[in-house]
């Protein structure tokens, strides 16, 4: 056993942390939050230059990583700084799917992505599907070589900025993937901001022209693999955000004086801080379990991921709520860093299955 990061990963982690500490303070981030685009093109391009996106892909694709712990290292730092730029949706999900399924011509998009020149989004969830990965109702119509899609995709993160959408649709008994140009006729993208930052859209497809990505009806296992990777990325991000929440709370307890002494001297608060610190280490360990099983067989992989993600739902709620409560009113204000961080933590429970959804999947996979 060895729980140390490799030298390359440690360097990436350190570089990224220094860059974000320097360039991504609360004020900068809050300006990005309220901007029309919902993300900073400048930050995106600088982070691509630092290798943030490249670290998510394997070497044969021009990347220099792509493993579970590469993902975890990158996203923990993004989470620590409350980064809202859509690296997860653009690179891990949409980029990962293209990387896995594309023909030679489509592969060009991946190198564009790695160098920050291409924006992508994965349009998969639908209004009725909630967290069910296999529930896809979007329809495919084929006429000769022409393919057209009809359906509605819900809460598609980064859809407005995307040059191409990766869209799932039902085909026979299976699920297929397609590339759709969001500017094409028949595509409506209705965007809105997200409470934890960034933007998403409801995407409506009415006979929208599409290009096939991979084989017909065979995409579900690939989608599940990318969802597993995305869930690891998101837990790592949540772990970083939780570390920040606990750090801020410790600083505040030491600094804030009430009743003539620092809050940190009250034992009732000390014990609650001790619980937060303990749960944080438990969450870090659960993430290591999940990241270490990304290459395992799909059932064991998903059982490990569900165990971790359900735990993250519970611990995330505890840490977000306790950090706010132990601060008091100041943490309720938009200009204080914790407000955004707490929203990131709680909203992490609303992607790729929440605490209860993963509890149920864990039970089912453990019984199988």
């Amino acid at each position: 056993m060895n729980f140390d990061l490799t030298e390359e990963r440690q360097m990436l982690s350190d570089t990224l942390r220094r860059y974000l500490a320097d360039k991504y303070d609360t004020k900068t981030r809050n300006e990005i939050l309220t901007s029309e685009a919902g993300f900073s093109a400048e930050i995106w391009s600088q982070m691509a230059d630092l290798g943030v996106i490249g670290a998510l892909f394997t070497e044969d694709l021009g990347g220099f990583g792509g493993g579970g712990f590469d993902i975890a290292v990158v996203f923990e730092e993004l989470g620590r700084a409350g980064v809202v730029e859509p690296f997860l949706d653009c690179a891990v999900l949409a980029g990962g799917l293209i990387d896995d399924l594309a023909n030679a011509e489509q592969m060009e998009m991946v190198s564009g992505l790695i160098w920050g020149q291409v924006q992508l989004a994965f349009a998969h969830g639908e209004p009725q599907s909630r967290y069910d990965i296999a529930d896809v109702q979007t329809q495919v119509a084929t006429a000769g070589d022409e393919v057209a899609l009809t359906g509605r995709k819900a809460v598609v993160v980064n859809a407005e900025a995307a040059d191409q959408l990766v869209v799932s649709a039902k085909e026979g008994d299976g699920v297929s993937l397609f590339l759709v140009n969001p500017m094409a006729n028949g595509v409506t993208v209705q965007g809105y901001p997200l409470i934890s930052g960034g933007r998403a859209a409801e995407v409506t497809l009415e006979n929208a022209p599409a290009t096939r990505l991979g084989a017909a009806g065979a995409a579900l296992p690939v989608i599940e693999t990318m969802m597993a990777r995305a869930t690891v990325a998101q837990m790592a991000e949540c772990l970083g955000a939780m570390s920040t929440a606990v750090d801020l709370t410790q600083d505040y307890l030491i600094t804030r004086q009430q009743f003539g002494r620092p809050l940190a001297t009250f034992q009732a608060l000390q014990h609650r801080l001790a619980d937060m610190l303990t749960e944080l280490e438990l969450a870090r360990s659960a993430l290591i379990n999940a990241a270490g099983h990304l290459e395992a067989d799909p059932m064991e992989r998903d059982r490990q991921i569900s165990a971790a993600k359900s735990l993250f739902g519970r611990v995330g709620r505890l840490i977000a709520e306790e950090s706010i409560q132990m601060h008091g009113g100041i943490a309720m204000t938009q200009e204080y860093e914790l407000a955004h961080i707490a929203k990131r933590i709680v909203m992490a429970d609303h992607r790729f299955g929440d605490e209860d959804w993963h509890l149920e999947r864990f039970i089912a996979l453990s019984a199988a």
Partner: protein, 399 residues
């Protein structure tokens, strides 16, 4: 013991229902249901309707123009009002300052200020907390120095709820810095149009402008605006806080919020079935509901005791802690229920905005309310302060 309502109570409940059916504008009710921000005019309009019926000042004695309702009647109104999605009554003048003036104010103050609270001529806000005085309220520093017929006030208040609408603020100020903290505080009424008063907005984490900072720079306040005696303000403040706490269990609000969760759970599809058939989710709902049923009776027991002349003490603190935790648990259920649709940011979806925020389950700003309601375990004496009161009172009685 008798858990049922009397015939008179039932008749009163029907009267309340009829009033709500007749007076509550459906558009207003819809705004409340969806958690949208009410305008100042919305709130004034609702106050005026209640006042026309003599139901605005529900706990005031009749001699001051109040309804003088029993604890049971107040509870019936609260339950029915939440069920109908009526706006809540803004408490600062009616529930907080009114009782203080009635008990500690002089005749001139009562004659002048109380009718203006009822008519809506004044909108009051509360100047208690300061940046350095939150849970430790008695450490407040805003200074008032006597200068002839005036006090000169300097300092800063914070978390001033709806202060942007107010023309008057009741403040705790330090009039004697050289004695024990609690013994140098006075209760002062300040006209916010006086030169030197400045209101600055605080934007909360859900994007709403609900609270403010209020700054005082050499503000001249006439001495007749001192309530009661100089340096006795802490006594009045504590009296006010017990009134602030009597309704703090929030049983009506929690009941309405839980009804909404159940309705959403029927509309949401989860793995091919209604979420209302998911045993894990419904177990969460059931646990909260069972606690709320008990809290409701706990609340009735306490208001019955208060109605019989008992002062609300540690039970009020217990209700505040438990009531806030239950309410927050229900908010948590609501955000869980809507799944990925918890992510869109509905703050811009206020009146007059055309932002197309998807709301497929017709529940309004669930996530915003979830984050906003983290405040209820912080304000009015945080849950930590309430626990101190409970333990101190209980242990003190045994020493």
């Amino acid at each position: 013991m008798d858990l049922s309502y009397s015939d008179a109570d039932l008749a009163f409940r029907d009267e309340v229902r009829a009033f709500l059916a007749e007076n509550l504008d459906p558009a207003m009710s819809e705004k409340v249901r969806l958690g949208k921000d009410l305008t100042k005019a919305d709130m004034e309009d609702w106050h005026a309707k209640l006042n026309a019926r003599g139901w605005l000042a529900q706990n005031w004695p009749k001699e001051f123009g109040g309804a003088e309702w029993s604890a049971t009647q107040r509870n019936i109104f609260e339950t029915e009002a939440y069920r109908a999605n009526a706006p809540r009554i803004v408490p600062f003048g009616l529930a907080m300052l009114g009782p203080v003036l009635q008990k500690f104010g002089n005749k001139a103050q009562q004659d002048h200020w109380l009718p203006r609270i009822l008519s809506g001529a004044d909108w009051w806000c509360q100047g208690y907390s300061e940046p350095g005085a939150g849970s430790d309220l008695a450490s407040l520093k805003t200074r008032a120095v006597r200068d002839g017929d005036h006090y000169i006030v300097n300092g800063q208040k914070t978390w001033t709820t709806l202060g942007q609408h107010a023309n008057m603020i009741f403040c705790l100020v330090r009039t004697d810095p050289d004695v024990k903290q609690q013994e140098g505080i006075s209760f002062l009424l300040i006209d916010m149009d006086t030169p030197g008063v400045e209101v600055r907005p605080i934007i909360l984490l859900d994007g709403c402008h609900e609270v403010n900072e209020v700054w005082f720079t050499d503000v001249r306040v006439p001495v007749e605006n001192l309530v009661g005696e100089e340096n006795k303000g802490w006594t009045y403040a504590k009296y006010l806080l017990t009134h602030e706490r009597t309704n703090i269990a929030g049983v009506g609000a929690s009941g309405a919020a839980l009804d909404a969760v159940r309705r959403v759970a029927r509309a949401v599809t989860d793995n091919g079935k209604p979420l209302a058939q998911n045993p894990h989710f419904m177990a969460r709902v059931a646990r909260v509901e069972m606690e709320l049923m008990a809290l409701s009776t706990f609340n009735l027991r306490m208001i019955a005791a208060a109605g019989a002349g008992g002062a609300p003490g540690l039970e009020a603190s217990m209700l505040k802690v438990k009531g806030s935790v239950i309410r927050q648990e229900i908010n948590d259920l609501a955000r869980r229920a809507i799944g990925p649709y918890a992510l869109p940011f509905a703050s811009e979806a206020m009146e007059g905005s055309n932002s197309p925020i998807p709301d497929p389950f017709d529940v309004g700003d669930v996530t915003g309310s979830h984050f906003n309601n983290r405040k209820i375990s912080i304000f009015g004496g945080s849950n930590e302060v309430q626990r101190n009161i409970i333990a101190k009172t209980a242990l003190g009685a045994r020493r």
